[in-house]
């Protein structure tokens, strides 16, 4: 029996900032102090507060250490683990009340408004140990479904819960299952979409890294509900930690007979295999994903027939997103009413968001649906750093749109986001401040979709390329007002005519920025000016002679020698040499460098 548990984050974020080394050092030090029978070191999944990683939490005290380095480890072991003296200087500062008291993590602003259902075990259990998942009521939902419920009762329960697909479109999960169950076939499949492709999104990765069994359990439940005995998880090869933990989890579940033949002596067989994707964005689209599992080139096809009728290998298939599956076991155990009591009427439950961009607490948060964007950005996210102001947030990645500052009090759910021209998407939430140019943002996402378009249909292949060309023309100062109108028309054309979701949603970033920031587009073409100062072709740096003290600091730092002037004389920038890197503006202590 261990008296103390040391949980170290082994998510991708903390792993890349050296948490592996910390774990090794911890074990070494604990052994040196003879504590190896008393203190248990556990590598967990993501805690969510990635901005403060590597993260370490010591129980039973619940001490939350942030930004730990391997050099800090000996002190933590000799002070905290041996003598019980918490190392105050390493604690997450918000948990420190005064010299002698700390508050619980759940009372900090980052965690207080969160509610964890999909992430409930992330940062709590060792994802490579099935026993710990079982200790958290793991596989009890599968047991309940197999021994106490009929497949139809399982579907009815999921229908009643109102759970909607967390991959972005928000289709009711229960209806998807109902369709697949209704189609009679000898072979069916229950698959999991773990091809998370939105730039800046890592919700699914974190679930798989922190709690892989919850997805396996839910897939088996889905298999039972629709009558499938085989599942596939389609995951991108760029997620090596998630893939490894999934493999371990599948092996352990097979060993325990929680996957395989005759599970819980119910006569139900189910097994799961992993299929690795090469990282094409289009393979997140369901028909392309299944084509890729079949071993063919990942290209979408026309729907209908929908996967529930003709899916993988031409048989009825259910395909759900990782986060959707992670909710299922809790719904089976706690019931539809419990789930409906969370969130909004039309969007029950919670949603996980990956916060990124210009925000203090970069990381992973799970909030009830209906939480306002303001709560997520300003309270949980800690606001925009560096004295800047919130300008907009992009949800739904390259398929979504922006939410401007004036709509910051919008409660986030599927229908509200669509009403304001964005979409839930898989949960990437990128925060932008006033130094972000909205035309440039639209261009960034278009560059992504142009790269990722599979090329099967013309509207997407050629249309997005033409859109990007017009955007390039605008940001380089050569656009006209007609270009803006033409671009808008092209957007609608691409939306209506593309084969799959990639093309149908690709123009969204352009359309939503046009909707809320048309004045910025117009400033680019009429005044040849970028209001945010982000488009280099339209920005010029100059030095105001009356403010310049002639300290030469800018001239010494300019990487291309574009600044001339003698000591104590006003300096001048040679705009033909200037590469607009902005170093002079950063270095000037007198605010003499201006950007126009």
């Amino acid at each position: 029996m261990f008296r103390s548990n040391v949980l170290v984050c082994g998510g991708t974020g903390c792993t890349s900032s050296n948490s592996e080394q910390i774990i090794e050092k911890l074990k070494e030090e604990i052994k040196a102090q003879g504590l190896e029978k008393e203190v248990n070191v556990i590598r967990t999944g993501c805690f969510g507060l990635c901005a403060l990683g590597p993260i370490m939490v010591v129980y039973p005290e619940g001490a939350f250490y942030s930004r730990v380095t391997p050099e800090d480890v000996p002190e933590i072991v000799s002070e905290h683990l041996l003598k019980g003296r918490i190392v105050k200087r390493l604690l997450y500062q918000e948990t420190v009340v005064d010299d002698s008291t700390t508050k619980s993590l759940n009372e900090t602003t980052f965690y207080a408004k969160q509610m964890r259902i999909a992430l409930r075990n992330c940062g709590v259990i060792n994802p490579e140990n099935i026993d710990e998942y079982i200790a958290q009521d793991g596989y009890a939902a599968l047991g309940k479904a197999l021994t106490e419920m009929t497949p139809q009762e399982v579907i009815d329960l999921v229908l009643a819960s109102g759970l909607r697909g967390r991959g972005g479109a928000g289709f009711p999960t229960g209806r998807k299952w109902q369709f697949a169950a209704a189609n009679k076939a000898e072979q069916k499949y229950a698959c999991c979409n773990a091809d998370e492709g939105d730039p800046g999104a890592f919700m699914d990765r974190s679930v798989l890294e922190g709690d892989p069994h919850s997805v396996l359990e839910a897939m088996a439940i889905a298999g039972y509900a629709i009558g499938a005995n085989q599942g596939y998880i389609y995951i991108r090869a760029e997620y090596p930690i998630a893939v490894k933990r999934l493999q371990i989890a599948i092996e352990q579940a097979r060993e325990y007979g929680l996957l395989g033949k005759n599970i819980f002596d119910s006569g139900f067989d189910f097994d799961i295999d992993i299929r690795l994707g090469a990282g094409a964005f289009v393979c997140g689209e369901e028909t392309a994903l299944m084509t890729s599992i079949e071993g063919k080139r990942g290209e979408p096809r026309v729907r209908p027939p929908f996967p529930a009728v003709k899916g993988l290998f031409g048989v009825p298939t259910v395909l759900n997103n990782v986060e959707t599956y992670a909710n299922i076991p809790q719904i089976i155990l706690k019931g539809a009413d419990w789930f409906r009591s969370i969130g909004t009427e039309k969007s029950p439950g919670t949603k996980v968001f990956a916060l990124g961009g210009k925000i203090t607490n970069t990381g992973l948060v799970e909030v009830p649906m209906g939480t306002t964007l303001r709560e997520v950005v300003e309270e949980i996210g800690g606001g925009v750093p560096g004295g800047h102001h919130f300008k907009a947030a992009q949800t739904g990645g390259p398929s979504g749109g922006c939410i401007p500052a004036k709509l910051i009090d919008t409660p986030i759910d599927y229908d509200n986001l669509i009403a304001i021209g964005s979409m839930m998407g898989s949960g990437g939430l990128i925060v932008m401040d006033e130094t972000t140019c909205m035309v440039d943002i639209a261009k960034f996402f278009l560059e992504f979709t142009v790269d990722e378009s599979c090329g099967k249909c013309t509207p997407c292949r050629v249309g997005t390329k033409r859109l990007l060309e017009i955007l390039n023309k605008i940001t380089s100062g050569n656009g006209t007002l007609e270009d803006i109108d033409k671009m808008e028309e092209l957007c609608y054309y691409i939306k209506e005519n593309s084969l799959c979701g990639l093309g149908q949603t690709a123009p969204n970033p352009v359309l939503s920025t046009l909707k809320y920031y048309r004045d910025e587009y117009e400033a680019h073409v009429v005044e040849h000016r970028c209001p945010a100062g982000a488009c280099k072709a339209l920005t010029n740096y100059s030095i105001e002679a009356d403010k310049c003290k002639g300290c030469t600091l800018c001239a010494r730092n300019c990487p291309v020698g574009a600044i001339s002037g003698s000591v104590k004389q006003p300096h001048v920038i040679d705009t033909t040499k200037c590469i607009k890197c902005g170093v002079c503006m950063e270095k000037c202590k007198f605010g003499a460098v201006v950007r126009k």
């Binding site: 008393e38 003598k83 003296r85």
Partner: protein, 126 residues
Amino acid sequence: MKSLAELQAIRDKTRAAVTLRENAEAGTRVLVGMATCGIAAGARPVLNAFVEEVAKRGLQDVMVTQTGCIGICQYEPVVEVITPGHEKVTYVKMTPEKALRVVNDHLVNGNVVSEYTIGANAIGAK
């Protein structure tokens, strides 16, 4: 896995190890003095005895943790039991055997083991 009972057995076996991670706001806190003086006087076996006995009895709202030196080194190993709404109880010169009795009498049944407290053992008492 053939039955729910089998699953339940695994759950129960591992449960105690995992609940440790949820007890940060537990009702009763058992603080074992683990400064240099405490360790030298044998506080570690006492601490481990508490942890094991609390887990064995499945006491959900008890948190066992270490604390530093509280300044009465001659009485180590010192154990403090803090229950909200009750006066703090300080046990002194503890041993693993005494720890079992404290868990049984005090933590389970709510009866302070007076003979182990600092009041009964203070120099000059009796």
